[in-house]
Amino acid sequence: MSLAESHAEAAALPAPTRDLEQGLRDIRDYGLAIVPDVLKGDTLKRTREALYRAAEADRARGREQKFALDYAHDETNQRVWNVLSRDPVFEDLAFHRLAVENVKAVLGWPALLGNISANITGPGGGEMVLHADQIFVPEPWSAEPQGLNVAWCLDDFTEANGATRFVPGSHRLNRAPRPEDSAAATVAMEAPAGAAVVFESRLWHKTGVNTTADQRRAGVFAWYTRPIYRTQENWFLSLRPEIRQFATEEMLVLLGYKTQGLGLVNGASPA
């Protein structure tokens, strides 16, 4: 299938849906599903405040870290790594029922939480390098997606404020973008604050350009993989102890403490 054909088949965003089965069909057909109104009212407000507080603290303390897929000259956009250890509200995102249900359906179980970090665009912020999240897996890729990204929109995601952009149909090409694909037509993942955008690991995407004069837009990206890959974040070094201490069985699986075959201690699960 050529990119042009795949683009023609799925030129638009799927309609937002709260229905899991419809969302899974959307992930299959469009590479992504938009789930509206997951975070609401005070929950959304508290989560948003916690993220901006962490971002502000990092900036004030000179702890910002760049990412290899961001453009180096960009001083506006900001990443906040490992938000899981920054505030308990992010546990409610990483282990949210919606996220776990999608992970189980798309990746199977057990699965791992690879990373959960935030990406905040600012006025004049530039875009990111086009990529697919499973690019660390050598090609040819197997037939199924190896990971899933759940993007939590803590502000409205709009074309103007740098919503994540994706190449429609690219998940069906089952390969990473090449340099000649960098100009492929992209569509903004527009979604209201409080929505989750669930997209599979083969979908080509990038941060959009923020053309506004005064808007920041924050997204928290929770990244899950099949249990055979290393997590991007080494939870055994960086996890806040209380998370492990009070974790449910499901959380222990996602963090690699309850495991089979891989990640063992003396041939057995660490917990």
Binding site: V137, E233, L237, G263, G267
Partner: protein
Amino acid sequence: MTLADTVAEVDTAAAKAQLRREGFAIIPGVLGAAACADVRRRLWRAAEESERRGAPTRNIGIDPNEHNVRVFGLLELDPVFVELIQHPLGIELVTSLLGPGFLISNFTANIALPGSQSMHPHSDQSIVVPEPWLQPWSINIIWCLTDVHADNGATLYLPMSHQIGWAKDVPADPRAGMRPFEAPAGSIIAMDGRLWHTSGANVTRDEERALLFGYYSRDFIRPQTNWNATLSPATIASLSPQMHAWLGLGPTANINLAAPLAIPRPAGQGTAP
């Protein structure tokens, strides 16, 4: 150190070519007789120490009966194993097959005592990663601490099966056509992660067959052992920066392939972790 009488003069070029072509290579004489006996003595001591610390070595769910002794945590139990897992010849063979981006996935011992039986045939890669299996993503470096032959439980392998890329091409009975890896004590056997194999049964009356399995995999794959949770602070502190990297003890993983896609940075600016 105990490996002082290691025998040199190995034709590594031939071994690497055979490993590529046939999915394995046997290199005799890597450990001299004295070193071999010493490592074997330390292995039994490590097995006892493992039991004493509460980590069982028998009937752990991999083997059909209690006649196999499996020792985990070798790196924690005796420095000689730290030396063996980073033996230059082993690392050279690993690098030739996987490239420089690999991790130490596991290092265990399997001592087959008389009466031990065979496990299910498998390739190490096929039971972990989805097909296709077109490239080697893992390798075993097997240290023979005793002579290994068909009757004492030599590993059985299916010749050329490292070329099986798809599940549909796996023979219905992989055991048919399998042959034993026969090698004298002190040899290493390098085995491509795609080669189909099984442990052999030890049908001798009184022979012990002791093997160490150094298992290495590409660095995007989760290691079989969680080294951060396995190794003591004292052991971690004693290891070189190179060993820290090979054990994947650091804070991040699976972001290095992002580098080739990134836009070059102005001089003086580092790359992200």
